[in-house]
């Protein structure tokens, strides 16, 4: 999941900006650290060769330089930030080959549901995408906040109940990647890791066809079962009954997922965490 080993254009651009910014700053930080250590060492009280200048308390030139150095750095980085924010806005298009793939991601307690509305299929904790195609991802949450993040594909984004966020990505190379939730969401949070299978554009339709043959059906009822608190070790797949399921979730026509069952009225409730493992 190395951020410096990007597998798509968004991650590549993000990590380039990250590395460039570090080097721009190191250019002044390293000499400054060196100067701190050098001054501290040379002007030690026991060094008789160092000149004691208790009256050196103001110098217009030094002042100008010390305000100018950080200011210039920030002007430079500010430009990077401005351009970067616009070019790499999570909702900005990421053109790719072939037709874009629409994916609707829903964070549940504590698993990820990926809906492919055009393919009429859905998967849990496993995201399969064709290499090179633009991925138009819409995201929401069934209950609490989470953050959708595939480190090697780039930008993360929050998922919130009753709201839809947008993220466009592209995976350039076939292979297996990992994604995770980057915002703490409760007891099952560490198990919200998901697989990302980047397959060839030719293999993707085959995968869709195979997946569509599955017996399990995702509709309002099975979704409501799925959104109960608990973790999912397997990688279930579903046929999607109603392609509008995501909209029903995002517009709260399906009410938010429930929290833990209260066993007693006392201060320490039993949480889903117990049932979960």
């Amino acid at each position: 999941m190395n951020l410096l080993d990007p597998q798509g254009p968004v991650a590549a651009a993000n990590s380039t900006i990250l590395v460039d910014s570090v080097f721009i700053m190191l250019a002044i930080v390293v000499p400054t650290i060196f100067a701190i250590l050098a001054f501290a060492f040379w002007f030690r009280a026991s060094n008789t060769k160092a000149r004691y200048r208790p009256d050196f308390v103001y110098s217009g030139r030094v002042e100008m330089v010390v305000w100018a150095i950080p200011a210039l750095t920030v002007i430079l980085l500010g430009g990077v930030a401005w351009i970067g924010s616009h070019q790499l806005d999570p909702a900005a298009p990421v053109p790719g080959t072939g037709s874009p793939v629409r994916i609707q991601a829903v964070s549940l307690d504590w698993k990820w549901l990926f809906i492919y509305p055009d393919q009429r299929i859905a998967t849990v904790n496993s995201l399969t995408v064709p290499a090179g195609a633009e991925l138009n991802i819409q995201l929401t949450s069934s209950s609490v906040m989470n953050v959708f993040f595939i480190p090697q594909l780039g930008s993360m984004i929050y998922t919130m109940n009753g709201m839809v966020t947008k993220l466009n990505l592209r995976a350039d190379n076939q292979g297996k990647l990992q994604g995770l939730s980057a915002h703490f969401s409760g007891d099952g949070f560490p198990d919200m890791m998901f697989d990302v299978n980047v397959v060839s554009p030719l293999a993707f339709p085959d995968w869709v066809t195979t997946t569509a043959k599955t017996d399990a059906v995702l509709n309002e009822d099975s979704y409501k079962k799925l959104m109960q608190q608990g973790i999912e070790k397997g990688r279930p797949t579903y046929r999607l009954e109603d392609p509008r399921l995501f909209d029903l979730i995002a517009t709260q026509h399906i009410p938010p997922g429930p929290g833990p069952e209260l066993v007693s009225d006392a201060g320490r409730p039993h949480s889903g965490g117990h049932d979960a493992r």
């Binding site: 001054f39 000149r51 924010s85 984004i157 099952g188």
Partner: protein, 677 residues
Amino acid sequence: MPAVPTVEATMLGKLDWSAIPLDQPIPLAAGGVVLLVILGVLAWVVVKGHLPYLWHEWITSVDHKRIGVMYILLASVMLLRGGSDAIMMRIQQAIAYQSQGYLPPEHYNQIFSAHGTIMIFFVAMPFVIGLMNLVVPLQLGVRDVAFPTLNSVGFWLTATGALLVNLSLVIGEFARTGWLAFPPLSELSYSPGVGVDYYAWSLQISGVGTLVAGINLVTTVLKLRTKGMNYLRMPMFCWTTLASNLLIVAAFPILTATLAMLLLDRYLGFHFFTNEAGGNVMMFMNLIWAWGHPEVYILVLPAFGVYSEVVSTFSSKPLFGYRSMVLATMAICIISFMVWLHHFFTMGAGPDVNAIFGIASMIIAVPTGVKIYNWLFTMYGGRIRFATPMLWSVGFMVTFIIGGLTGVLVAVPPADFMLHNSMFLVAHFHNVIIGGVLFAAFAGFEYWFPKAFGFRLDERWGKVGFWFTFVGFWVTFMPLYIAGMLGMTRRMQHYDVAEWRPWMLVAAFGMLLLTIGVLAQVTQIVVSIRNREALRDRTGDPWDGRSLEWATSSPPPVFNFAFDPDVRGEDAYWALKHHAKQQQLEDHSGPEYQDIEMPKNSPTGFVCAFFATVMGFALIWHIWWMVILGGVGAFATFVVFAWRDHDEYVIPAAEVERIDRINIEERRNLVSLAGTL
């Protein structure tokens, strides 16, 4: 038909035996040990007959120096608690690779929430407020703060908050939501237990304490300065105190309001931040960070003040670019209110908003960078003595600059899209809070300890403590930067990713070094107390200081100064000393000694906090009769205080003279000694 509440429910609310975590050995044992220690100390105090002394001289004291010391004591004890949490977390992440580790999620999640809450609200805050209380009136050359009794109330309410957080160890549970308790996770539907209530009520009560402390210190700096102490002659620490407390006064009400809304959601079925009925979680994010970002500067500005004092004193030079530093301080104070959105660039706010807040955040780095350079040039041409406080300061400069670099980095939105909430971020804010605030707390502690207690701290153990903490910090947190670059996110109770493991092991080893560092500092205090006669500071000026706190004896008399000091420039005491050296003797043909009026001790703070504790506990457990009892009690305490007849007592001129003569005698020896050198 609504159920009729039972007698138990009326009397005890939600409280019953299941609140005691008998099935969880770790918190129970920890709580048990703490309880034993507290009971042991109490028993020792009572048996030895120290109770009246403690009551009259400390608990009811309204002396800013005593209150400052109590703040720092509270912070130090809580540092041990928060540090224990940190040790447990590092061990958990070191072993929880492809396993559950030794802490189940419901416990681990409480630990990181408590760690953050405690370290910010009950370690960093009381530590800096304690230092400000102890030092600022002395530096301003005044006898007291503006509102002495309110000051005591502020301290005791902070202590109430700390007590409630620790009570959650053994009765009930603490929040499992992280230290900012984001909804909807912190709403009743997803956190039905009392954990979030413990969190919110502790912070509500201690937040009131912090607010009154802020009001008190702002007023003190603005209204109570000695003759000639105009704004541009104030020591840097007073400036940073002013800036920090202005931020407290402006920002803490936002925290109070935000938590009040969360509590209304939880207690009365409101919908400010719920999923249902139009609640908006993004509103909470905005509000909590509108407080949270200034909070960072509330902590770090006084830290910058400490470094300014220490670097200048131990370089034997005035602070370089004083006016520039004042400007930088006030610039940080203002800009820090305009950057809160950088905490959630990844919420999809849009490119313009992200870019503007990113650039605003970077702009803060400019005055901060200026400060670093000004300390650098303060050292230039100095005669630097590497006493422990100076070691902490140089260690800070080197460490903080890296934290600043990573801070500016995460202010670049595209970089933040990869680093938000990651271990990289965890490393960044520990880099600035440990390297900035905690190092300053330790530097200030070593530096002003002789002033507070009349003897210096052992240098040898101090240096051992510094080196272990300094190296320990780097070994613990540099691996977390790397783990963040490897995609590791924060708050993982367990993980299966092999490439993260080695860095968690290194970090755990670093934690061991940090622990040794803390133990060395505890040893330092014990050793110093035992050798206090040898370490005695008779002159009141152990470091060849520059500001007015060193012009009085160590510890200072309750009235601080027998005469109001007359300030003629920056570095007031330095000028005074050199004037005296030239004259060979201090001039005593000054005005006659006068009677001094000082505020009377008052139990208001303690009693009020007692009732606040009762009320907070009752609110957490829904014991409504007890809520009323606590509320009425706290209010009545204030009514009684408001109707007091006499609030001051007089120290007769003869007594002032007697105390001052002793100080002058010691000081004369110092001056004549200096003259012979």
